[in-house]
Amino acid sequence: MALISMNNINKDYTLGKTTIHAIKGVSFEIDRGEFLSVVGPSGCGKTTLLNIIGCIDKPTEGTVLFEGTDIATLSDNMESELRLKKIGFIFQSFNLIPVLNIFENIELPLIVGKVPKSERKKRVAYLVKAVGLEEFAAHKPDELSGGQRQRVAIARALVNKPDLVIADEPTANLDSVTGNTVLELMEKLNREEKVTFIFSTHNPEVMKYAHRIIHLKDGTISEVKSNGGRP
């Protein structure tokens, strides 16, 4: 069974009397272990699509199955539970909690998930190391560079061992060199930790990393490229 199955997703926004069809009849599946990229010009619906997958927004029409369960049937608290345990988010603007240090930011989802302290410490220490921020564990987010902050966000997204990590333009606020290192880190974690990723990006070098690339145009899938040659 596919991890995610999107069936005929439509999303309309109503602005006064005009209706914007942000997503028009999109269907695709995400398999476990995939490193999937969504690309397309600004305004084509990438963010809208990823938000729908991540239970942050609801489609106007169509169903999203998460491991076979229709997420439209979930209650508020079950949705939170799903976001906590099965989905990790990485945002364009990092969205770290400014008053918590790096270690605490990464630890937060574990605390919410009531993971015992000793286990938490182990898991966070492991991830801090995996994203290469051992020296910064006690620092506050505003003492870090953009690339470092995004690595914190990646570690936070992974901390609960989610089935799916959703990253909406994780490199958009970073210069291209830093952006590449972030993508490389995500790719490495996908390979080594077997985490499924779906991310949107403008980075032209995405071909180097992604297994599959979905091209969006005006809210519809215009092209799907499989990257057989990925290492």
Binding site: I56, D76, S80, N95, P98, V99, N160
Partner: protein, 403 residues
Amino acid sequence: MTFLKIAFLNMIKHPKRSFLVIFVVMVSVVAMIFIGGMFEGMRTRFYETLLQESGHLQVHNVAYKNRKEPESLQHTLEDPQQFTGYLTSQVEIMHAEAIIHFGTKILYKGKNLFILGQGVHPDTAYYGKVRSGIVEGGFLSSNEDILISSRIAELLGCSPGEYLHLAVDRSYGSPYYQDYRVKGIFKTDSREFDDYNIFITHADAQETLYLPDQTIKIRANISDPALTEEFKKKHQSWFSAHHAEIETWKDIHGSFVVLIELFDFFMLFMNIFILVVAATVITNTILMSVFERIGEFGTLRSIGLKKHHIFSMILSEGVCQGIAGGILGLAFGIPLLLWVSQTGIDMGEAADAMKMGSTFPFAFSFSNTLAAFLFGIGVSVAGSVYAGFVNIRLKLIDTLRAS
């Protein structure tokens, strides 16, 4: 715990905003303590001073009300002992004593003054402000002692040890003179009181006025003033049988009782006013501070925090700020109140007209202070509950878009 920590760190991170909430809570608590203290002071002054003078109940002849002049010696009580004896044998009654009021003229070295005489027992439980207000000499102790106020002493130019004459109309109508030695000079906080009262012993009053084994009034204090009406009902018949009747403090001070009730009403009104102002400012400040961080709360929800987590974070900020403001309010309000309650605030002659002295009294009351403290916390909690509800009713997607 982490939510409490985040809430706490958020407050430290934004000290201005937190301080504003804490400050408003503090000011409201101080204001409430202060106003509460003022009304408590008036109430206390009323019960302690006014009732201290009048007693909780008075007994007089049934016909006393029909007397021609206020200080008339008609319609006296015969055999005062039988009344004080009956009263003090009741468990509720703490104290009972006979008192004689009379009109008199003081004569001293060619000067004279019309004045009110009070014949009281040397160990009287009433007129505490006279006893404690002695500035020269001492309180009544033996026959032929008289106490006059410092204003009268100044007016006449006489000092302790000197003799003056009291001119009275005796009970059967003939004029009479009697010499009295100034035993002490007093000064109370009421100019009006000082200008119109002199004190001699009850025994002297009986003799000078020719009221053998008679008195005008009995004053009594009851363990709980609230029981006075009940006591009156219960013992009415005994007193009627002895040609006497009871007047309770409510009968005596009718208009002041209304005034005190009016104070309560006014205090409630003031507190509602403070509540509305404080609640508006506090709620707005909390709303502002929550909306500043709407994206942050969105992030927290997107990483799996439930609505009740967000709600309790906002609430714990409100509780912390409320408690901090409340404690600061106590820290400033209580010393302020204790300080003003030592002297009161001088309001001049206008306040004297209310027979409560010219200084506005203040008194500390535990329940008022506790109420002010809880009120401060309550408003801040209510404000954050509101802000929390507003926040969690937003859609997650909309809160994230704000970041």
